[in-house]
């Protein structure tokens, strides 16, 4: 386990936030464009495919924010566990709703 000081010094090594921002913006623009094209009949993808795509891209964006902006990638793993456990519970909750 990294010490407090090691973690603090790692946090000063910032990732390229602008690249992350561009990735998030491009993903948002992509899902919006796909949905508008679908609504206007330009593309005729099945609804299930579209929903799966939107969900996958949203989760990707959320993970990017958590890893880079919230520093979970370089910070103590204990924060990842603390944040991850309720997400697992939430997923179980969603799964139970579908049954």
């Amino acid at each position: 386990m990294s010490t407090h000081h090691e973690t603090e010094s790692k946090l000063h090594k910032h990732p390229n936030y602008f690249v992350v921002f561009i990735a998030l913006a491009v993903l948002t623009a992509t899902i919006t464009t796909i949905e508008l094209m679908s609504q206007n009949g330009i593309i005729a993808w099945p609804r299930a495919t579209l929903n799966g795509l939107y969900l996958a891209m949203s989760i990707t964006k959320a993970v990017l924010v958590a890893l880079f902006y919230m520093h979970l990638k370089i910070d103590s793993y204990i924060y990842s566990i603390l944040f991850g456990v309720p997400i697992v519970f939430a997923l179980i909750f969603f799964a139970l709703l579908l049954i």
Binding site: M1, Y17, T28, T32, A62
Partner: protein, 197 residues
């Protein structure tokens, strides 16, 4: 600067507390999202408007732009943290002011969206779709609004009122950043789950 003794895990107490709070917020929003996903699809509103659900009433281009606004505010928060850690006070203050501006713009656009939905589309809390939609997005908006109040207090401090931040004392910014990014994550998911799916 107050120096806190590290707890047994070797982590900062304040940061640990913030992550614990965010963990509780995950479940709070999970319940609201489940509420929306289950109930909004059972709404007789669709019959009234001649559409499948109330989702067709939502303005996707405006909301997409609002998503971009919130994403930009998240970027300016990490920029503020990077600036203060590097000792660049001018850039730090500018990034915080930009965050306040983008956050306020987000709330403004959400109010515009609500106005359009309520006044022009006739959507209200008496329908299941309306009730779950306004509860979910409203609670998110309340979180953004709460963040803006917190940010205003931080700004006073950043401009020298009530102490100040420095290269060594930036935990207040880091904790605010965690909260703000969490609110951003929730919105990124809501944009897909409420507006697109």
């Amino acid at each position: 600067m107050t120096v806190y003794p590290p707890p047994s895990l070797g982590l900062d107490n304040r940061k640990f507390g913030m992550w614990t709070f965010l963990a509780s917020e995950v479940l709070f929003f999970a319940v609201l999202i489940a509420n929306f996903l289950v109930l909004s699809k059972q709404d007789p509103l669709g019959t009234f408007y001649g559409v499948d659900t109330g989702r067709e009433l939502l303005n996707i281009p405006v909301t997409a732009f609002n998503t971009f606004v919130l994403l930009t505010s998240s970027f300016t928060v990490v920029l503020a943290l990077k600036s203060i850690q590097g000792g660049n006070i001018l850039q730090f203050r500018a990034a915080l002011v930009a965050t306040l501006a983008f956050g306020s713009l987000f709330i403004g656009i959400q109010m515009y969206e609500y106005f359009q939905l309520i006044v022009h589309e006739g959507l209200n809390m008496s329908t299941l779709f309306g009730a779950t939609f306004f509860t979910l997005t409203g609670f998110h908006g309340a979180h953004v609004f709460g963040g803006l109040i917190w940010l205003t207090i931080i700004l006073f401090k950043a401009f020298g009122v009530m102490g100040g931040f420095s290269k060594e004392d930036y935990m207040g910014i880091e904790m605010f950043g965690l909260y703000w990014h969490f609110v951003d994550i929730v919105w990124l998911l809501l944009f897909s789950l409420v507006y697109l799916i």
